[in-house]
Point group: C2
Chain length 226, copies 2
């Protein structure tokens, strides 16, 4: 691939390639949003067919993330960006890894739905909590699509706020499971523990991506745990 195209400068080609990276990240985030919508619906409604779809489609997210990584590494090799441009491309690699993990969390939620079918995964007393966690995860995933598309840092703040709500619900699951009124069997306890952890990690990865986009917009260094 030539470093110039017709009358375009190398800089213009680079900007075009960055736009392509961004578009692909938005596409992957879209796949993740669809996956978590389906996974949480499958989980809450014991819809095994929908769960199977989520599980079968996870490879699409993995493949899209891998293609994005190949593109980013190609850009590094051909364009040899420095300074902020370099950090954008490196951030894209990290964002792609986080999106791929969000897809995995979504798949794990769907797997719980499938394992327990035709039973529901969690007992009645916890269903409203998981319904809320699921709605928040879906909301966070949709906001992430918008954030990656617009780079509006206000959306990054919104995602952090929603993540705080997910964390509070995650803690409330343990309060309930460890409380005096819990009547669940061991299997209910295991499922609630894992499901809560997957929902919480899904949101954590979104916050990690939001921090990276904020960093790119503001120029602050990415913290190691971001």
């Amino acid at each position: 691939m030539p470093v110039t195209k017709g009358s375009h400068t190398m800089r213009e080609v680079f900007q075009q390639e960055l736009r392509e990276v961004q578009e692909r990240l938005v596409e992957i985030a879209d796949l993740v949003a669809l996956s978590i919508e389906h996974a949480t619906r499958a989980f809450n409604e014991s819809n095994v067919a929908l769960a199977e779809t989520v599980i079968a489609d996870d490879h699409k997210i993995d493949a899209a993330a891998q293609q994005l990584d190949e593109l980013a590494i190609n850009i590094l090799a051909r364009q040899q960006p420095v300074a902020r441009d370099l950090r954008i491309v490196v951030s894209a690699l990290r964002i792609s890894a986080s999106l791929e993990r969000m897809g995995d969390m979504s798949e794990h939620i769907a797997q719980l739905a499938r394992y327990r079918f035709p039973d529901k995964v969690v007992p009645k007393s916890l269903r409203p909590t998981f319904a809320s966690m699921g709605e928040l995860d879906v909301e966070i995933a949709r906001k992430l699509v918008d954030l990656l598309r617009t780079e509006d840092v206000q959306i990054a703040e919104d995602i952090r706020n929603e993540d705080d709500k997910v964390d509070a619900l995650h803690l409330s699951v343990f309060d309930k499971v460890l409380g005096a009124t819990w009547k669940g069997e061991a299997i209910d306890t295991v499922d609630a523990t894992l499901a809560s952890r997957y929902h919480e990690r899904f949101a954590d990865h979104a916050v990690s991506i939001a921090k990276k986009v904020q960093y790119l917009a503001t120029g602050d260094w990415i913290p190691a745990d971001a």
Copy 2:
């Protein structure tokens, strides 16, 4: 920093910098090995002081990973590597992220020990299983140090084999917790579920690093889920 030093060529400087990247990865892996040794001992012996040490020291792993990332991005900017050299530096960024997550898993294991102190985290019937998982995680972490130091792909294979054993023990925890003889309270079930997941994820991250080192040694492309 100049691109040449005395009579050294840019290539020699680059090779020297790659060695520094490798040495730093080995150092971080050493910190992770120490962390999981202490965390699993704290977990199995209910040693709250040791658990506190692991929790207090996790920031050292985070800081070392962040410094490595800064070095790697600096190398990308100054040396503008291509082809295999570029992939080594990008892989270093990914390996650093996985090591940082291994430190987090170790910290989570230590946190469980601290929360339950002076009680042990798991009931008697599961202690041999967690003792074995802990030993395997420590063994895997030590092998990872050797793998990063020597790039001997046989060690990567050994790590995969040990991970298979961790996975089998992880499944056996669920068999026990969901079996007819399980007498644990809900809190025991929650702790066993989380502890087993953390031990299993610790080993998974090591396998992911091992795959990257294998890829660098063999030239195969890194799979998206590696």
